[in-house]
Amino acid sequence: MKPPGETREVVVAGIGATRWGYYPDRESYELAAEAIIDALKDAEMEWREVETAFCGSVYQGTGSGHQAVREVGLTGIPVVNVENACSSGSSAFRLAYQAVASGLHDVALAVGFEKMPKGPIPSTAFRPTELQMGFNVQPANYALETLLYMEKYGATEEDFSLITVKNRKNGALNPHARFQKPVTLEEVMNSRAVAGPLRLLHCCPLADGAAGFILCTRKKLRSKSRAVTVAASVLTSGVYGEAVYQCGMVDSVKFPPAEGMVEMSARKAYQFAGCGPEDMDVIQVYDSMAPGELWDIEKLGFCKEGEAPRLLREGVFDINGKIPANTDGGLISRGHPLGATGCGQIYEVVLQLRGEAGPRQAKEAKTGLCHTMGAGPNSSIIILKK
């Protein structure tokens, strides 16, 4: 990757999003179009100014982004559909960022959208034998990792249940969240067992919805006061020897990796942005399963390995804490619209940096980070600065 000095500054000029929920009566392209039109209005721009579009989704299929663009206007621009599992939205954002940073385009659209299909979903994230052996259960694959984490650091079921409690409390302050009702520790710990030691309320719900962004050069901006700079947008994939049970990958016994995929993405993002974890005022981390947020926070460098449970109890990751995490309720409250999830995170951090997050506003939020993962595996880090 070229150093920041050799690429152009890219700013988020406008943001738009639907509420996250269940939309049996709306098509995915209608959800995406709503987010795009919102983002255009927010940027105070006309559709004809947008030079290229990157549309992320997992299950919407061939030409789905084109369907969304057709609802906004056919101007002949290049439209690229991006499927990169749960990092699809973040990957679309990164491509739009690259289009502007490289100097090829001045104004680009990124949108993530999803409407979960009904019935069985064919999976290509596992090998056929793994599917037949029943190794494709997402909570179970997290459970394998959770058990290792618990044994290594002495973490308990109560520790990761407190993640759910925190995120559902934040979600109650977010009018866009799918779940807006807080839950108690007892409710979490008494919810149905899904895959030991994980229970139903440790798992994020699915959701439909869309979020979109207008990215451009500073010169193209209409409203300079609300613009947020993309300080880094980094994507990594699997590293040799690291287990990713979500893709049927086990640890190499003989050749363990020197650095994990998430750690690598974080290192590269901090390096590019010229800052570190200590500079982040608000973070959106990957909580598709509650315990995942604990080790994600650690892998991203916000504390030492095994320390997250204690800091969580001390309130460090609360909205008014030192490192507010998943201020919009995370995947656990917002819901997980696979291909749109990364864009949902970016939407929240932009709101926070603009000071527009209302009752869940983190104080003095100047710099924020979003982390998505997903089958592949992928790890995406986006750092935004006011």
Binding site: P120, I121, P122, S123, P128, T129, E130, L131, Q132, M133, G134, F135, N136, V137, A140, A143, L144, E145, L147, L148, E151, R192, A193, V194, A195, G196, L198, Y240, G241, A243, Y245, G248, V250, D251, S252, V253, K254, F255
Partner: protein, 141 residues
Amino acid sequence: MECGKKTVPLREELWTASGDQAGLIGSGCTLCGEIFFPKKKSAFCPHCQHEGLQDATLGSRGRITTFTMVHQQPAGGFYKGPVPYAYGVVQLPDGVNVETLFTGCRPDEIRTGLEARLAIEKLYEEDDGTEVLTYKFVPTV
């Protein structure tokens, strides 16, 4: 396995022989020594990129490194075995981790660190009564 029942393996070349002689079939790299399970059809080693993978029969005993118990039917309809079921990872002395189903004990008896031995067992039964076999590990409880 009942006498006279027709059986088919879930997939060819996952294991060799049967009963006490059974062993999983992996691939070993002649250059870097890495071991893969299941075996790879290509000779190309994705660890060192050397074109030197050869079939290797793996040891039939190992240690459980992690496990879980699944209480719900997996999505997609690919899995036709019983629910609930337990799966996890067994580390073999050859130096390779294997993702596997567990069998032969109560789910609450499974622990990390326990020894486990390979067993070739029924995964499910086809409509015509044919038993589809797969590899599993039996924890020594």
